[in-house]
Amino acid sequence: MGKTVIVIDDSQTIREQVGTTLRQAGFEIVEAVDGVDGAEVIGRTPDAALVICDVNMPNRGGLELLEDIRKDESRKALPVLMLTTEGQPQLIERARKSGAKGWIVKPFKADLLLAAVRKLTS
């Protein structure tokens, strides 16, 4: 069984695009539709090896979710990779300071995403 990656994005197409890319490489995918759903999914997926998370989402944004994860002693080591249309340096720096492991500006290149996921889950 492959390592589990949680994909959090309000776009079904993006979730499926990321999921298809990673499933073909042997990863297991669990999806969530926003930051609120993402927190629930993370809570019931203790074996997750990585979270890939959008920034701008309804209900709860990705950076707020990231900050919540880092405050949770049981999940603070879980690596988080941000995947977003945002490229503002202040937001990238906020994510870095909050403990994100990386930042990708959409649209993503499948081979680069896969390489980053492999590195972060190795």
Partner: protein
């Protein structure tokens, strides 16, 4: 920089962003045409997303045909045809990515936009009402699968200038930054 110079700069940014976005999804946009009177009757989907900053508030509206959106469907998923619901989702994501590119292009000019989530409408013969903002730009592109219209409407504060600061650079699209 004058307001007219702002508009010229904006036109270049939006056109470049649209062209680069659709090219990355495998669809080439023709040269932007200055056709203010043409309202295509075959457009059956519209996607809009709002933005705001201290001196700017507005929205981008994209109208086109559903089959054009389907043509720009992600490569990884092209083993099957998208459903209408998936086309709507993708149209919303495309206008989100378009605004993302425009936002990132504006970063070196000191303009930091906050954005809404996208809204998508499908239907026939839906046309936009006249805009009430002081900036209302329209970009019309032909493609091999029909036309694409992008409206950029914004209320910009008088005296707003785009001051270029080359030391501030956004993250480039597609690249991976590992911390």
């Amino acid at each position: 920089m004058s307001s007219q110079a702002n508009v010229v700069r904006l036109d270049a940014l939006v056109e470049f962003a649209a062209r680069a976005l659709f090219e990355s999804h495998g669809l080439t946009l023709g040269e932007a045409q200055d056709e203010t009177s043409r309202l295509p009757d075959d457009h059956d989907i519209a996607a809009s997303i709002g933005f705001t900053a201290p001196q700017v508030q507005g929205a981008i509206l994209m109208t086109t045909r559903k089959d054009l959106v389907a043509r720009a469907w992600p490569r990884e998923l092209r083993h099957r045809e998208p459903s209408e619901r998936e086309v709507c989702d993708w149209a919303g994501e495309l206008v989100n990515q378009l605004l993302g590119r425009v936002k990132n292009a504006l970063v070196p000019f000191g303009l930091t936009l906050e954005q809404s989530t996208p809204t998508v409408v499908i239907g026939k013969h839906v046309h936009r009402a006249p805009p009430s903002t002081n900036v209302a730009r329209r970009y019309f592109f032909e493609t091999s699968v029909g036309s694409l219209l992008i409206y950029f409407d914004a209320a910009m504060a008088k005296g707003l200038t785009f001051s270029l600061d080359m030391s501030v650079r956004p993250g480039p699209e597609g690249d991976v930054h590992l911390f």
